[in-house]
Structure formats: C-alpha cells, structure tokens
Amino acid sequence: MASNKKYWKSVEELKDSSIVETLSKNEFVQDISTDAFLGDKETLENSSTSRRDFLKYVGFTTAAASLAACEGPVIKSIPYVVKPDDIIAGVADWYATSMADGYDFANVLVKTREGRPIQIMPNKDANGTTSARVQASILSLYDEKLRLKEPTKAGEAISWTDVDKEIVAKLNTLKEANKPVVLLTGSMASPSTSKIVEEFSVVYPNVKHIIYDAVSESGAADAMLAMYGKRTLPNYHLQNAKTIVSFGADFLGDFHGGFEKAYVNGRKPETGNMSYHVQFESNMSLTGANSDKRIVVKPSEQVFALLNLYNAVTGLNISSKATAVDGDIKKLASELKKAGSKGVVLTGLNDKNAQLIAFAINKAIGSEIMDTVNTLNIRQGNDAEVAQFVADMKAGKIAGLISYNTDPVYTLSNSSDFSEGLKKLELSVALSTENNETVNASNYALPTPHFLESWGDTQFDSVTYGLVQPTIQPLFKTRQVQETLLTWSGNTTPYYDYLKAFATATILGGSSWNTALHNGFYSMGVAETNAVSGNLESVVSISEVGNQLSSSAKKATGFELNLYTKTGLGDGKQANNPWLQEFPDPITRASWDNYLTMSMADARDLGFTNPVKDNGAIDGDYAKLSVNGKEVIVPVLIQPGQAKGSVGLALGFGKTFGLKEEMQVGVNAYPLYKGGNNIQYNVTIDKVEGTHQFACTQVQKTIAGRHDILKVASLKDYNTVAPKDHDNGWNKPAYVSYDHKEVEAKTIDLWDEHNRELGHHFNLSIDLTSCTGCGACVVACHAENNVPVVGKNEVRVGRDMHWLRIDRYYSSQVETREDAKELGLGIADTYKALETEAENPEVTFQPMMCQHCNHAPCETVCPVAATTHSRQGQNHMAYNRCVGTRYCANNCPYRVRRFNWFNYANNNEFDFNMNNEYGKMVLNPDVVVRSRGVMEKCSMCIQMTQATILKAKKEGRPVDTDEFETACSSACTTGALVFGDVNNKEDKVTALAEDKRAYNVLDYLQTKPNVIYQVKVKNTNQA
C-alpha cells in the first residue's frame, strides 16, 4: 500500500510542524534579501551615494555602454601549424583508460575535445563503473592551484637532471652504508609498477616498499592472508546472492571499492528473484538505505551480533553477549542456512578477527558468493607495517623516505610522530600529483602527472588487465613515478617501451597490444573454483579469534564513534574539487561539510538541535568530541536511523594545506582514526558554544503533502497483486471526480495532444529499485552541461544549480494516514507518533530532473516564450530569450528549474573552475555557459541527442537501437537510468514506458512527463 506511506525529508518536519507550515506556504525561499541592506538603518545612513553621484554613475555607465557597443571585439582564430591526423576541430575523440589513484579504481572512457579531456564515462565493455569521484576526477586534472608544476628542492626549482644526479648519489651513499630507505606508496594495483619497484629494490637492497592507504582495509587483507595465504581482498559476486547479511559493510559505498553493479544485478524484480539484504549498522549508510531490512545496532553490539550469528549458524558456542537483536539473528541464521551457497556475510569492521569470523560463517554455509580465488588487488595498505615504520622513523632508525601520492602528515592519526621522524631523515623525496603537507615537509618535491596524462597498467581483480593511456599532453613539468624509479635504477628504457614489453611478454599472450590499448583492457579469463576453500581450523583457531574479538568489544564504554567516508569526498584526496564539495551527501543532503551524525534520542538528551531558519537553511550546534586524548569540535547533524549511543563522522574533510579558501571546509577526523580502526570506543561528547551553518538541500523543498510522489511495493505484492487494483494495487493511477463519477485522471485533459508519431520521441526511465543513490549521474551532468558551482553560502539559501538531484525520502512503514484517522489523531499527533518510527526509517532515493512534460506548466506561463515544447519530447529552454521572470520555476510542480542569480563564470566571487584558465578547459564546448538572470534546467542532453541524429544522418542510416544516450544514463552504473526513443519499438525504453511498474510523478496533475519512474520493489516479506 504504497500510497498510504508518509514520506518526509527532515527531522524538523516531524518535530515542529510550524516551520514546515511556514515553508510549505513559502515554498519559494529565493526572495531577494532586501532586508539585509534596507532593514539596516545604520548602513543606509552611512552610505554616501548622493543623488548627484547617482546621476553621475548612471550617466557614465550609459555612455560607456553605448560606446562599448559601437565596436565589436576582434576575435582571433588560430589554427594548428601542423594538424594532428586524429583531431578534427569540433569532433570529440574517445580514449579507453583506467584510473587508480590509491582510493578509486575504475576502467573508464575519456571524451576529449581538441586534445582536452572533458568527460569520464564507465568503460562498460571492461565491466567498468564510475562513482561521483571518478566522474569528478577530470576536474582535478585542471587543478592548477593544487598541482605541483615543477620539481623543487627545499622550495627552490631544480631541473630533473639535477634531481636524478643528486638523488641517485644519495641513494648510493645510503646503500653503501646499508641504511634503510622506505618507499611509501598507496595501493597502485599495477603489475608493471610492482615489477619496477621490485627491480628498484634489487638495485637498492636497502629499500623497503610499504603500502599505505589513508582509509584502511588492512583487517580484511590480513584475514585473507591468515586464512587463504594471500594478502588481497576477497571478491563478492552479489549478483548471484540470495541472502546478504552485512555488519556495517558499506559495499555500495567504499567497502572493497564498491559492488553496486553486482548487487543491483541480483535484485531485478521482473526476474522474480531478488536477493534479501539485511544490514546491521550504526551509521545510516548508502548500503543500509538500500537494504530490505535495516537493523540499527551500535558498533560494539555488531561484534556480538556477528558472534551470535556464527554461533547460531555453526551451533558452536564462542564467548559473546546477548544483544537486543538476537531474535533477528536467529531468523537470519536459518535464512542463511537455507540460502546455503547463495548466502553471504560481510563485515565492514576493519578488524582481522571480525573478518575471520565473517569468513568462517561463509565457509560454514559453503558460500559461493565470496570469492577467495579471483580476488581484488585494490586497497593493499598494511597498517602494521605502517605503524612500525612510523615508530622506526621517529626513533631515527630510517634514513630515507620516498613517498608517492600519499599524504601521511594529513591522514595519519599519529601524524606528529611522522613529522618528527621526517625531520631526522637524510633523504626525503615526495613524488606527488598534488601539493600537500607531506610534500611540503619533504626535501624534494617531484611532480607526477595526473592519470589522464600517464601511461600505465592496472589489475583490480584477477580477470581484467586494464591499460592507462594519456589523453592530454602533460600540463606541467611532470614525470611519472615509473619513469623516475627506472631512471634511478639505472634503466634508461622509457616507461612506455617498458610497459609495452612487459604487457606483451607476460599478459597479452600473443594478442595485439594496439587492440588492448584501444579497448583499454584485456580479459584474462577466470580461475576455476570460486568456492570458499582453505584449511581454516588448522591455521586459525576460531574460538580464540572469537574470544579476542568479544573481549575487545566488551571494553566498549561511552559513546561509540563510527568513522566513515562520504560518497562525495571519499578519503579526501580530491578535497580541492568543487564538484565533489558541492555534491550533496546522498543521505544527509548536506554539501560542503562533514559533521557528527547523532541519533534523535541522543540529541534530545544532550540538547542538540537542528533549527530550520526561515530561509530554509539548517543550523547546528557544536560538540566537543574527545577520544584517545584527542579533541575535535564538530557541528552536529541529527540523523534518523543512527544507532543510539553511537555517532558518525566522515573522514577526508578539514584539509587546508594548499587548498582554495572555499574548499577548506569541515573537520579533519583522521587524528581520531587510531590504528586505521573505523570504530573508536569510549568517546565523550560535550555541547560547546556556537552555531554552525549547514548547506543542506534538504528542508528547503518540502514535500507539501504530496505523498504519492513515491511508490514502493513489496516483492510479494509485486508478484501477486495486480498493479492497478483499485483497492490494493501498488501502482494505482490517480483518480479524479468527473461528472460526479470517479475516473482515471489521465482520461481528462485541458490541452490538445501533440502529434508525436513522426521522428523521435525521447523518454527517460528511472528504476527506483536499481537506483542506489550513488550520485555518479549528478557529477556527469555537471561535466556534460557546464553546470556551475555556486559555493556553500548559495547552496545554503537554496540556490544550488544541480540540474539533476537525487531526492532522499524517509518513510515510516507502520503508520498510515488511515491508522491515524482511525485513532482520531490530528496532523501534529500523527507526526509525533511517526517520530518513534523515525528512529529507523526506510529510505528511498528518487533522481529528479526536468520531467519534460508533454503538457508543461512552465511553458504556459512564460511571458516571452523562452521555454517551449519540441516534437521530440524535450522541453526547450532558450537562454537568450529568457528575461528572468522566474514564473516558470514557480509553476513547475517538480521544482527542477534553476535560476542564475549571478554570473558564475569569470567572477571572483565564485572562484571555482569557471574562474580560471585551466578549470575552464573542462567545459563542454557544445553547451553554452549561461549568464546571469536566466533560468536553466535539464535539457535531456539535447546536445547529445542532436549529435546522435546528425551522426546517423551523415552516415545515411537510421539511428541504431539504444543509440541515444544522455550523460546521466551513460554514467549510471546499475542501469537504473535508461534513455531512448519510444518511437523505436526496439529501444529498451519503449518497453519500460509500458511496464507495469511504470508511473509518472504527480500523475494527477496531468503534466504527462517524458520521464518515467519504475516503482521501487523491496524484498521485505522474508524473515
């Protein structure tokens, strides 16, 4: 009974109906803030513009404007001297490459225009996926503020030749003295680089290679080593899973690099088979939000729950403790046993013992989902080695450090020890793409190119060998780390030749190098067995492991802190990327910030609130967080679904060194990340003075009672109940009264129908079941459509420019309006009753963009006909015609129109990528940069559909099936967004438009959108 659900967007909406009342009446909070200067009498009196001055200014500007208009500017056009054969000005080239920056790993395609990369898309042939961060990494290429531009020694520029001479000499001295040197890198997952490092260590036997990842998954890798003898991460084939049980593993977020594609492939309601996913967690994560059943458990209890599950599955009795969720655990144990090889248990606790218990459960049920043969080579950081190295360095036992693309000074919890040790070194060399604190503290700072300027290879799993190729000439005087290590090893082979020889000899097995490079990958084939094997008992004593684990969890006191990474910023490597900073968190919808997430109950007890201001912005109180003798002051954001007694804080923020002032937001949580452990016990929280201003895109747009906006069905209902059943249907059409009879709303119409048989008619289908809310489409839209970044203050007052946003709705399962009516509750009381439910709400994501209504309300109110309808189903927006009345935005029921309050390009007030020469290189030359005072919105990527049509016309052929794409649909990893031409019967979208799950948002308004949503189906009937 989808329509009876109450959807809500923020805590405030539940708590204090008065502000919601105000907001729902004042839906448009974007008033010109005249009060700010007119209300202030003092400012007015102090201003010294007299009438005479005013007239002077008016006269001068008029004269200047008319003079300037007399002569047009002379525009120069400079062709190539020798045009490269493969570049045609105005035609895009695509290259296949791979990204591996130590945190994100992806096989991608790169779009270049006139030699400038302008967009990244997943390489679907290589089974590649992109996240918001991978999409946004293209902007980090052009980050001239943060990138290192030339080699320096102690801050002075130095040539590469001198660098090589000096460092090789020093390395040889250290070798002769047999003094240890450490090569500290992030995970690279590059076979050829591993070989180069090996050869480097042969030339300099005193060099030790240590892998350090800022966000550690050392626990899982160590557990794999203990149990299966190799230090890699297990792979999970979630597409085949029947039952998935996760203890805090955010596998749609950062856990092992993410599994959203596999996960969604195992959850297709039309096949009748959906995995059943239960998530135990304390923070509200993306994975928990997508789960069928989310069980709120604080971290220490998660440990006991995991042990209890082990006991229940195996019938053994490892020391544990009873938990409040033991009833669920019992049911799950039988579910898992039933699922057998199709069941899987994952845990996100970065603890070797916890991982071993999870592995043991998988072994007990004979899980084929967890793959320990074809494993993942990403995130190979070794916490123990790093800890030992930092201690040794502090003790002065290390003589040299060569670091590559890591920033331990920022990311280590004991970074002061590291800095202290760094000063004692005889040789400190930092190779890095970006400037950071570690680079600054090292003697030599050697710039390395961005991955889009590099050669290389990658191997994330054992199946796909990826290649990296440059898509642009290096922007600065950079040299690849591989080239550098080869040079220092005395090997004069250029890295490209080395790579080609290496790949041809060891990987490609006789197939063509050029083909592999063109495809960006080479398939190596799967090793045969993938069942959990290994001789567990003989190697690891599981009871001992269990006892250690439970005794460590029993020490938990006070609040428990669960450190996590955000979908936008990740480990903070791209903190200077405005697209990612402005990207709203999928769960909290807050941008430009990190914060302490706290449960509603705890917040009430400790006195924290999130008042909503009358301009729709949210404020917060500050808390002093003390853990392990370290203190940070963070703002508090109340998070529905947060486990009581636990708090969450995102890593990757609070970076300041070298960053633009606007990007220096949030609090650095790495000092609290002791031992790479994402769970920290014994935390105390005190409320401190001050008010924090959040930039949330959360409450501004209230739902205003339109609860039909979302439709969610259970798998059982989906399979058994007719979708349009008048009483129980899960996809009921809207009914209206006509001639005192109830009729379907779509039978009544105010407008004449357009004739749409001729040519194309575009539809976009959005499957709410498949959408995980990852937000890759949001950033892809930014890149494709030159969407400006507006900064924290503008987002705060609701002037964000995202053409595509992903709305997050909380809903409460049990309470219905009917229930409330039966109980005779008023609206306020209904909400109050819902509040307990809000301790663990269901979450639904809904991508929302211009719906391209066939009967668009915006078109009828535009006084200048700037927004008009097209035959192809797109709602056009002629920026040059728009005079900025904003009537259209006011009349749009979907709130998707965006107004340019300022010139966001070439404006020092908005000093983001559109205000510098490098950042502008990422702009898409086929889409205009809008100017101040005009409305803009999703165009359904008309530049892409037109280009597809033109391509077909030039080649003299009809447009191929499924050839039409938009930026969001091609970026979508899970296939939730499908775009196409409904006048082509073969196109995937044509069937989807008629699907029994298909519905239009707010269909009773009869806007007849060309964007179709598919009802979300949840597997909620089991267990």
């Binding site: 047009g72 035609v91 008009t868 040059n880 030039k954 003299g956």
Partner: protein
C-alpha cells in the same frame, strides 16, 4: 553600414582612377622581344605540368635552377638526362652522377614520353622565359567589380524629407496668410528673411493642431531611426577585417579552382568549417614560392598588390610553417597564424557545418556568397536569426537520398500524402535545435 558603403564608393573611385593610370602606363610600353610565341607557349605548358613542381627558372628548388640551362649544358646531355636520368647515370656519365650527388640523391622522374621536339620547346622556354604583356584584363575587372550596393532607399528618404519640408513651409505660409487676413499686424523686423521666419514661428506656435502634428511626427521619426539603428547592433554583414596575410580567395578558389573543402576539410565532419592549418598551405606552397608576374590583388581600399608584395605574403606562410626557403627544409620553429575571425556567432547559438554541407548538400556559397570572387574575405550574409529561419522555412529537406529519413518519408507519404517538407516543418524552427 553607411560607413561601409562610403568606404566602398571611395574604393571604387580610387580603383577606377588607378586603373586608368595603369592603362596609360602600359600603353606606353610595347612588345620589346622577338620570339617564337608558339614554341614558348608549348614549352611553358610542358614546363608547368612536368617540371615546375621541382624546378624554377630563376632559382633553386628541389632541383637546380633551369633559367639559361642551355648555356650551361649540352643539348644532348640534357636530352639524355631528361628522358631517363637513372639510365644515364648508370651509363657512367660523371657530370650526371655529380649533379645527382649535389642534390643529395633525390631522384628525378624519368620522362621517356617526351619527344626531342618537346624537350627543345621546354629548353626554349627556359631560355626566353616569360613574355610581358600589358594588363588589359585587370582594367576590365576593376571597372565592373566592386560596389554594387543600391542606394534607392536613401534616395527615397531624401525625397520624402524634402517633400515634408516643402509641405511644412507651404502650410506655414498659408497660416501666415490666414493670420494676416484676420488682421493681425505684421511684426516689424530688420531683415526680410528673419521677419519671415519669425512670422512662420508665430504661426506654428498659435496652431495647436500643427504643434501636435509635428510632435507626433518627431516621435515617429525618432522611433524609426532608433529602431533601425539598434536593430543593426551586432549585425556585422560586410565585416571585412584586415588579415595578417593577404589571402585571396579569388586566386585560390576562383582562378585555380581549388575545392573549398580541400582547405576547409572539417566542414563535412564537424560543426566548424575549420581554418586550414599551415601544413595544408604547405602542400602546395612548398613548391609555389612566388606568384606569377601578372598576378595582382586589388584590395577594397584601392591598394593594388603586385608580385613583390604578394611574394612577401607567401613568405609569411613559410615563416609560420618554419620552412627554410634556402635549404628547403623545416626548421621546426613554428609560428601559428593569428587570423581574424570573420563569422562570429554568439555563444548561445549552436551551428553545425556538417549538417548543412554533408547532410543537406548545400553549397558553401549559399551562405558565404561568391567567395571565389573575393580578393578579401568578408561576411556576406547577415547571420541573424531571421536570416536562418527564412532559409529553414523555404528549403526542402533532402528526404529521398538519405536512409535516415526513410521512415519519416514513408510516414509522410502514406499518412499525409506529403512528398516535400521544409526544414521548418521537420522541427527546424524549434528553439532548442540551435540554442543549448
């Protein structure tokens, strides 16, 4: 616009006077050389088609300078060399081998097809060289070319203005008479004219209708003029900036009939027609270092550039490409040419050349005008939205040739019995097709 027309008219006058001068100058000179014109002509045409890509009369190119070659080599030697130089060298002729080595072993093609007569003609041409002729043709071109702008609307405005003033004076005079007849005393004045004007003024002042009429008239005139002026802001029809190199489309596209898309090659693939890169210029200009004696480029402002100036322009191309004319090799020092862009669309307009050139098969001249006649390139069309739309309304889309339109064509024919549709009817007037 007015200034452009003025500029044009001035240019025409200057040009005519200049050509008249030229005519005088040339009529003074006469044929000074006696020669066998037929042989020279025959030799020249053979030379141009077979030898000119590597040889010049007056300087070294890929091969040696050939002017006066008969004075330096025996006729038989030359014939053997030309017919098959490789064979000749193989026969062990020391001179032949020396020449071959002097030019770094670059192979010259064999010409066994040439008869002795042919070779003699060529050699004759290398000896006598060019015939100078008076430039009669040029004068004709100058007389007919240039300013074809009609000034009819302006005439009309002048006539109208004159008529209005006359009418105004007549009415004023009438009014004066009337007021006099009514018995108003004449105003005393010093001079006749001044008195008349004063009376006229009083007459007008006393008549409310006339006052209102003139105010309305003035307002309408102001609006008309203002509208006309403002409407032309940003419309750069006729824009003809000075380019860094005097490049004559007339010589390249008109006289030498080079296809537009040889240089503007991306027009069929891309939204940009593309200004050719310098390496495209060098495809030909590697061998064409100078223009013919008779080549003249006449600029709009009446300046006439002859061989001396034009060769300097070609030298600019060499400088840009980094071509060393002496050693005939690229130096690697390149200097891109900064052309001034003539056709500027605003950023908010999306225009795609390939849509028009490849799909619809339009001729470049449809929008760019008679480029093959332009010595200096200028913007021929107004490039306003109205201009685009007019064409979209009138032009039928090529439905039959292109498979893309097959389905649309079928639907149109079957359902609506329509065989022809204009671009506008297929959605070519929708805002979003060009504005995004």
């Amino acid at each position: 616009m007015k200034s452009v027309e003025l500029h044009n008219r001035l240019a025409v006058i200057l040009r005519i006077s200049f050509t008249v001068l030229l005519l005088f100058a040339f009529s003074a000179s006469s044929f000074s050389q006696d020669m066998d014109e037929a042989r020279q002509k025959e030799g020249k045409s053979l030379f141009k088609s077979l030898c000119a890509s590597c040889h010049k009369l007056d300087k070294k190119l890929v091969g040696p300078m050939l002017g006066g070659i008969e004075g330096r080599r025996e006729n038989d030697w030359l014939k053997s060399w030309i017919k098959n130089n490789a064979e000749f060298r193989a026969s062990g002729n020391a001179d032949a081998i020396a020449v071959y080595e002097e030019y770094n072993g670059s192979n010259m093609s064999a010409f066994p097809q040439l008869t002795d007569k042919n070779i003699d003609d060529i050699l004759y041409y290398t000896t006598v060289g060019e015939i100078s002729k008076p430039d009669v043709v040029e004068a004709g071109v100058a007389a007919t070319g240039g300013g074809s702008t009609s000034s009819a609307p302006e005439w009309l405005i002048y006539i109208l203005a004159a008529a209005i003033i006359v009418a105004f004076l007549m009415i004023a005079n009438l009014l004066k008479q009337v007021s006099e007849l009514k018995g108003n005393t004449k105003v005393e004045s010093k001079s006749n004219l001044k008195r008349d004007l004063q009376e006229l003024w009083i007459g007008v002042k006393n008549n409310t209708f006339l006052k209102a009429l003139s105010v309305v008239f003035l307002i309408l005139m102001t609006i008309y003029v203002l509208f006309g002026t403002l409407y032309k802001v940003g419309v750069d029809q006729g824009y003809q900036p000075i380019q860094p190199i005097v490049f004559s489309h007339k010589i390249h596209s008109g006289d030498n009939k080079i296809d537009c898309q040889y240089c503007h090659s991306s027009a069929k693939h891309s939204k940009h027609s593309g200004i050719p890169s310098v390496n495209v210029c060098m495809n030909c200009h590697k061998n064409i270092a100078e223009v013919a004696e008779t080549t003249v480029v006449e600029l709009e402002d009446g300046v006439v550039l002859g061989k001396a100036e034009l060769d300097k322009e070609i030298a600019k191309v060499y400088k840009a490409a980094g071509w060393d004319v002496e050693n005939l090799e690229y130096t690697g020092i390149e200097k891109p040419i900064k052309w001034v862009r003539i056709h500027n669309l605003p950023d908010f307009v999306y225009f795609n050349h390939s849509q028009h050139v490849t799909v619809q098969g339009l001729k470049c001249q449809t929008c760019h005008g008679p480029v093959e006649e332009m010595e200096e390139m200028y913007q021929y069309s107004p490039l306003t939205m109205g201009w685009c739309i007019d064409c979209h309304r009138e032009t039928n889309v090529e439905l039959k040739e292109n498979e893309y339109y097959a389905k649309i064509h079928k639907q149109l024919a079957e359902k609506y019995g329509v065989e022809k549709v204009t671009a506008a009817q297929l959605g070519g007037l929708e805002c979003g097709k060009c504005h995004y």
